[in-house]
């Protein structure tokens, strides 16, 4: 992240700073150059000028896709937060054994490809899938519920995939909260709920913030899951970019969209950076 790069810069002639050189070279060749190339195309293909950006904001559908992308990402982030906070809390305060099991449960999805997981969800959620067969079999519903190929499908799949990115930062921050602080709050007259509200919650917020940022940014750029589980009529920007580049071979427009997505992401990071220290939120230490 931005803060990480700043930290690594060779301040006060730290000779160990040279060790970041390979990483910087790698980034320059495989990240900065393609980024430049994309930037270039967005302003040069098919003609030099701002026509792609003008076309994007002039086209109702595209603007709606952008807003839709932001809306879905926000929804996914909120739901992740809602699930992840109590999960991380239990993990941080359970016995070491239980915490280990919970940690593995949240990490297992990391060990298989996104594509595999997404198709697995499609199998589970489709009209003839596991859930609907079960509900129909039990006579709880008369016709299959539409769980996939819509917003619900996207949200279920995305929340599952992105959950670790929310749980882990919250867990890390919660682990660092001194248990005596809650005891002290109780000792000073706070009921358990009050102690949570006044002491624990504010101290755990940096983790929530870090997790939300990760999940939101990752959601913005998602492609596979909305493509497989989502409603094609409610596409997210990632899907539209792929269509532009792969189907329409309109590289200029695709690049312009990617650039807009990048700018939106940077804007969000910039706003977030004003609220809290991003380095702090990701566990980086800042000394006074």
């Amino acid at each position: 992240m931005a803060a990480g790069l700043r930290k690594a810069s060779p301040r006060r002639g730290n000779r160990w700073a040279w060790f970041v050189l390979p990483a910087l070279l790698f980034l320059a060749v495989f990240f900065v150059y393609p980024l430049y190339e994309m930037l270039n195309r967005s302003f040069t293909e098919p003609d030099v000028g701002l026509q792609n950006n003008v076309a994007f904001f002039g086209t109702d559908v595209y603007v709606r896709v952008l807003i839709n992308t932001l809306r879905i990402s926000f929804l996914i982030t909120a739901i992740c937060m809602l699930f992840a906070y109590p999960y991380a809390y239990i993990m941080a305060h359970a016995s070491r054994r239980t915490a280990g099991v919970l940690l593995i449960a949240v990490l297992v999805p990391f060990w298989s490809s996104i594509l595999v997981r997404t198709y697995a969800w499609a199998v589970i959620l489709q009209d003839t899938g596991l859930i609907n067969s079960l509900l129909l079999g039990l006579g709880l519903v008369d016709e299959p519920l539409s769980l996939v190929r819509n917003l619900l499908g996207t949200v279920i799949g995305m929340v599952h995939i992105l959950m670790p990115f929310m749980v882990l930062p919250i867990y890390a921050v919660m682990k660092g909260i001194d248990t005596n602080l809650v005891k002290a709050a109780a000792n000073l007259g706070s009921s358990p709920l009050d102690a949570f509200r006044r002491v624990y919650l504010p101290l755990s917020l940096p983790g929530v913030f870090a997790g939300s940022l990760l999940v939101f940014v990752l959601s913005l750029g998602s492609y596979v899951t909305p493509a497989v589980l989502g409603n094609p009529d409610q596409a997210m920007l990632g899907q539209v970019i792929v269509t532009q580049v792969q189907s329409l071979l309109n590289w200029g427009m695709g690049a312009a969209m990617a650039l807009i997505l990048l700018l939106v992401t940077l804007l969000i990071l910039a706003i977030a950076g004003r609220i809290v220290n991003i380095g702090d939120a990701f566990g980086g230490r800042t000394t006074d």
Binding site: D178, N180, L181, K183, A184, A185, A186, N187, L188, G189, S190, S191, P192, D194, A195, R198, V199, P202, L203, D288
Partner: protein, 380 residues
């Protein structure tokens, strides 16, 4: 040892039945974790305005007992009473102040907000709060530091804020759990006296946990010595030091010369005897109920070190020894002796008070003490 001035008025009443109802009472309080008896049938009465210290090695049950009083740990059995009334309320309804070992200041609040926290919970008005906070900051000498965050304060300053926070809502009892453990010696000594001064000014009841015997001696009206979950002895600092109830107490508090043996009576004179020695002991020492072994304890400052040909009194015990080491500590000399019986002995003499030459390393000496300076305690 430089003990500060101690108010003796309360402490001296120790042996009398308590006049006022006890501020804090523990009745047969136990906490068992499976087979481990972390706290085992602790009985205790702490009087209003008293400064009582729980002293013991780590794992002796002193902190667990404190946690039970605060309400953080539920006792397996037994009762805690405050002002004669049993308390079973959750911690936040107990109105007991507490200072934690690591201060436990809220890192997201300034010093002033930390101190104002209990007042806010008690719905004090903003104006009241501001007044009390200023007063509390002033009391601990941090009037200028109210707007600092804990991370901007030194360890000693953080501890002062923690103390102010525990006192600001005027609880009847304040518990302190090794509050000075993380501070350096000089600061610790300074804060010991300051806590003592504040306690005295406010007339508040304080229960203080420490494993540092010197700290306990400096601060306490009474000391409760813990070992293996049990109370070994309760008494004033003097009682604990001069009349320890067990070998553990004698050994844990202060330095001791210890001889183990059994009691013998020869025509009204009582002796503690082993293969290596035979010492007279005070006549008021009674035989242990189980006829078990006893230990004779002599404090180093009671031991006189004389030339081998020195004349000694009948009412004195003597041991022949060789000086192994002499350490000059400025205000005193510390002698290490090896007795003919193989016992290691320690003597401490104040420089400028003891007359005569200091014996040299390697010379033969007589270690001498008065019979009445013998402390006889049961072993185990």
């Amino acid at each position: 040892m430089t003990a500060g001035p101690r108010p003796r008025t309360i402490a001296n009443k120790t042996d009398d039945p308590p006049a006022d109802p006890a501020s804090l009472t523990l009745q047969k309080v136990s906490k068992h974790y499976g087979a481990l008896r972390a706290v085992d049938e602790v009985d205790l009465e702490v009087r209003e305005g008293e400064f009582v210290t729980f002293l013991g090695p780590s794992g002796s049950g002193k902190t667990t007992t404190l946690q039970i009083v605060a309400g953080f740990t539920k006792p397996t059995s037994g009762k805690v009473l405050i002002d004669g009334k049993p308390v079973t309320a959750p911690p936040h309804k107990r109105d007991i102040g507490m200072v934690f070992q690591n201060y436990a200041l809220f890192p997201h609040m300034t010093a002033a907000d930390n101190i104002g926290y209990p007042l806010k919970i008690r719905k004090a008005s903003k104006k009241e709060r501001r007044g009390s906070i200023a007063e509390a900051l002033d009391m601990v000498g941090l009037a200028e530091h109210g707007d600092r965050y804990p991370s901007q304060l030194s360890g000693g300053q953080q501890q002062r804020v923690a103390l102010a926070r525990a006192l600001v809502f005027r609880p009847r009892i304040v518990l302190l759990d090794e509050p000075l453990g993380a501070l350096d010696k000089k600061l610790r000594e300074h804060l010991q006296l300051e806590i003592k001064r504040i306690q005295h000014e406010l007339g508040i009841t304080m229960v203080y946990v420490t494993h540092e015997q010197e700290e306990a001696l400096v601060m306490s009206d009474r000391i409760v010595v813990f070992n293996e979950g049990r109370v070994q002895q309760v008494g004033t600092t003097e009682q604990i030091y001069e009349r320890p109830a067990s070998l553990f107490v004698a050994d844990f508090i202060g330095e001791s010369n210890i001889f183990q043996g059994s009691l013998e009576d020869h025509g009204g004179t009582r002796y503690l005897v082993s293969r290596a020695f035979r010492f007279k002991i005070p006549t008021n020492v009674s035989s242990p109920a189980d006829d078990g072994p006893l230990a004779l304890v002599v404090r180093p400052e009671r031991l006189r070190i004389l030339r081998p040909d020195a004349h000694t009194q009948v009412e004195e015990n003597t041991v022949e020894a060789v000086v192994e080491d002499v350490i000059y500590l400025g205000n005193e000399r510390r002698y290490t002796l090896v007795a003919a019986s193989g016992h290691n002995l320690i003597g401490r003499h104040q420089v400028g008070v003891s007359s005569g030459d200091s014996p040299l390393v390697g010379t033969k000496v007589l270690a001498v003490w008065h019979v009445e300076d013998s402390i006889v305690v049961p072993i185990g």
